[in-house]
């Protein structure tokens, strides 16, 4: 298993390098000049060139690329923003926990709410509860997050005055953003859980368990659910990973200074260091999340664990054989 972990971690390196080069190339070729945005309307061409030179924007592609790669991966320096002179890494690391909270809470809520919802729908297939759960899930997926965010603000903040309408001053400032953000995920996870459960409930081993005399409830949660969950875990994992970089709408509506809003603004402003640094960091995080999900599979499904360890066994057998030959 350790061998597998090390191998996977090593494989992350070319992936992240690839992402960095790709995003650099994309930003390089995207039209739009950051210097004009920095210096404003009234600058002369001479001043424009001077600023461009200072920022290193007049150098050829490969020079800039290697400089960027060296700076990011060897010096671990993500640079400073063109627009407000802040250190990119400092900004990212200050903002990341806020986005991470929203992403984590959404993940948790999905585990707590969506999975039981899906299980209920599956066990009452065709019945009223099933239809009810499906309708709820579809509504949750279809409602646009910005609209529901505004509705929450109007209701809970303006009319009822229970919660603040923006900002991150208190722990309860996070309630509305998390609630608005997780709806779509709730719906899709519930639907997926339901379809997985429906498949698993018809399995032979469930019949065996029933024939053994295991009560229905235990069959559901102890026998069926672990098998049904594997695709759902993938889903949750990728959702969490992309939520780390992407809760832009929620962050804008609720004024949460997180990563999503920062990155989107930077892209509009062609703030290259921020975009490049941010995307690279997010790529690293996302890869780690995916890797974690793969590890979780191994803990849930022993067949996958055996697969990961497979090559190791072969190696052991070889050494055994060799040992016997000399014995």
């Amino acid at each position: 298993m350790t061998r597998y972990i090390i191998k996977r971690l090593l494989m992350l390196i070319p992936v992240i390098l690839g992402v960095a080069i790709l995003i650099f190339t994309i930003m390089y070729f995207t039209p739009g000049d950051p210097v004009k945005l920095i210096a404003g309307d009234t600058m002369t061409a001479e001043q424009h060139d001077q600023i461009a030179h200072e920022l290193g924007l007049d150098q050829p592609y490969f020079t800039r690329l290697f400089k960027f790669l060296k700076q990011t991966f060897i010096d671990f320096d993500l640079g400073t923003s063109y627009i407000d002179n802040s250190s990119v890494s400092q900004q990212l690391f200050t903002r990341l926990p806020r986005t991470a909270i929203i992403a984590s809470v959404c993940c948790l809520l999905q585990i707590i709410i969506a999975i039981p919802l899906g299980v209920t729908a599956a066990t009452h297939q065709g019945g009223f509860l099933d239809s009810f759960c499906i309708v709820l899930a579809i509504i949750a997926i279809s409602v646009p997050s910005f609209w529901i965010a505004m509705m929450f603000i109007l209701l809970f903040s303006l009319r009822l005055d229970w919660l603040p309408s923006f900002g991150i001053d208190h722990w309860y400032s996070y309630i509305l953003p998390c609630a608005a953000n997780c709806l779509m995920g709730l719906g899709s996870t519930a639907r997926q859980t339901r379809s997985q459960m429906l498949e698993v409930i018809r399995s032979d081993y469930v019949v065996t368990a029933r024939a053994k005399g295991v009560p229905e409830r235990t069959i559901l949660y102890s026998h069926a659910l672990p098998n049904a969950l594997i695709p759902v875990i993938t889903h949750l994992g990728t959702q969490f990973g992309s939520a780390l970089g992407g809760t832009v709408v929620i962050e804008t509506v609720f004024s949460i200074p997180g990563v999503g809003y920062y990155m989107t603004n930077a892209i509009s402003n062609r703030d290259y260091p921020v975009v490049l640094g941010g995307v690279t960091l997010l790529a690293v995080l996302f890869c780690l999340v995916v890797f974690l999900v793969d590890l979780i599979y191994a803990f849930i499904d022993p067949r996958i664990k055996a697969q990961y360890e497979g090559s190791q066994k072969k190696r052991l057998k070889k050494t055994e054989k060799r040992g016997k030959a000399y014995a």
């Binding site: 081993y205 029933r210 024939a211 053994k212 005399g213 295991v214 499904d301 022993p302």
Partner: protein, 333 residues
């Protein structure tokens, strides 16, 4: 090894059991008025073609038929005098696994792939015997030994076992709580012949040792001959012939049974063609009236299309055929 079951006498009495499946506006009449008795220590073989309804009978006894399509439309299942069909649904789990157990056909999918084998065996023990985890594990290990699997494999997962070993594990699970009745649904169909013999032998030994009853569902006469005391021939959801092995094998009464025996290729004779029973089993959504076998029977008469009579040849050998009624007349068209 647990003390052998000291009970004796009538264990199971199935009376006029009928089951149908309702799906897509069609009604599939799977089981139509099946009756048989089974005593402690006896082994009954239920033979028949695929689709005859044997598995449905077995699942009906345990009440694990899939509920939306399947419906029990009549009959009684008496276990030690108590009608299982009257037992409330939430009390059935106490009976399943403890008094009646089932071994299924396909060992490859019958075990939960994410749980350890030992755990799966011990689960049943914990549930029914209400003992501690450690005790249950001990007993599970013993059962494993009993079915011929090393104790060291207690913590392994199903994917680490071969087909035959998996089937043994399934049997271990079924026998873990010393059930009075073991129903084995084609337990060796998915295994190769050598393993088949081993598994059957083991089942037989365990059955005798614990004095439990066995219902062995199969389409293989050889297996029945080896392992069972009684045999019931199932056709189109009915038991058309019933008796001891000796009775049915040496003096088959029903034309279908006769046809089955004639279809077996002989090792000694040298024949050019096999002689199967012509025709196919009837469509269960559209069963013929009267005798279900009549369309294929070379002895049929008009009477066969109207009704079918039950005949008792003594000593428990019975048969459902009009041939033996006075009204039948000579065979022919």
């Amino acid at each position: 090894m647990e003390n052998a079951n000291q009970k004796s006498g009538r264990l199971l009495s199935v009376q006029n059991l009928s089951v149908q499946y309702e799906a897509n506006n069609e009604v599939v009449k799977a089981v139509n008025g099946v009756s048989f008795d089974l005593n402690y220590g006896e082994a009954l073989g239920l033979v028949g073609e695929t689709g005859a309804g044997k598995t449905t009978i077995a699942k009906a006894i345990l009440r694990i038929l899939p509920d939306p399509p399947a419906k029990l439309t009549g009959g009684k299942i008496l276990l030690d005098g108590e009608n299982l069909l009257d037992v409330p649904a939430d009390k059935m789990p106490e009976i399943r696994g403890q008094r009646i157990s089932m071994v299924f056909q396909d060992p490859m999918t019958a075990l939960n792939p994410v749980k350890r084998v030992g755990w799966q065996i011990a689960e049943g023990i914990r549930l029914h015997e209400h003992c501690s985890k450690a005790e249950a594990n001990e007993r599970a290990k013993e059962i494993l030994k009993l079915v011929g699997i090393s104790e060291d494999r207690f913590r392994e997962y199903p994917h680490q076992f071969s087909g035959g070993m998996k089937q043994r594990v399934v049997i271990a699970i079924a026998l873990a709580c010393n059930p009075d009745l073991l129903i084995a649904d084609e337990p060796t169909s998915a295994l190769d012949v050598t393993i088949q013999a081993q598994v059957l032998e083991m089942m037989g030994e365990l059955q005798k040792a614990k004095n439990s009853a066995l219902i062995l569902i199969t389409h293989d006469f050889g297996v029945v001959a080896k392992s069972c005391d009684k045999v019931g021939v199932v056709y189109a959801g009915e038991i058309i012939e019933f008796g001891t092995i000796r009775q049915v094998f040496e003096e088959p009464k029903h034309p279908y049974t006769k046809g089955l025996f004639e279809a077996i290729p002989s090792m000694s004779l040298d024949v050019d063609r096999l002689s199967p029973i012509r025709g196919l089993p009837p469509d269960p959504t559209n069963l013929p009236s009267g005798c279900k076998f009549a369309p294929r029977c070379k002895y049929r008469t008009e009477r066969c299309r109207q009704a079918v009579d039950e005949h008792d040849f003594g000593d428990g050998h019975r048969c459902r055929c009009c041939m033996y009624s006075e009204e039948h007349g000579e065979g022919g068209k």
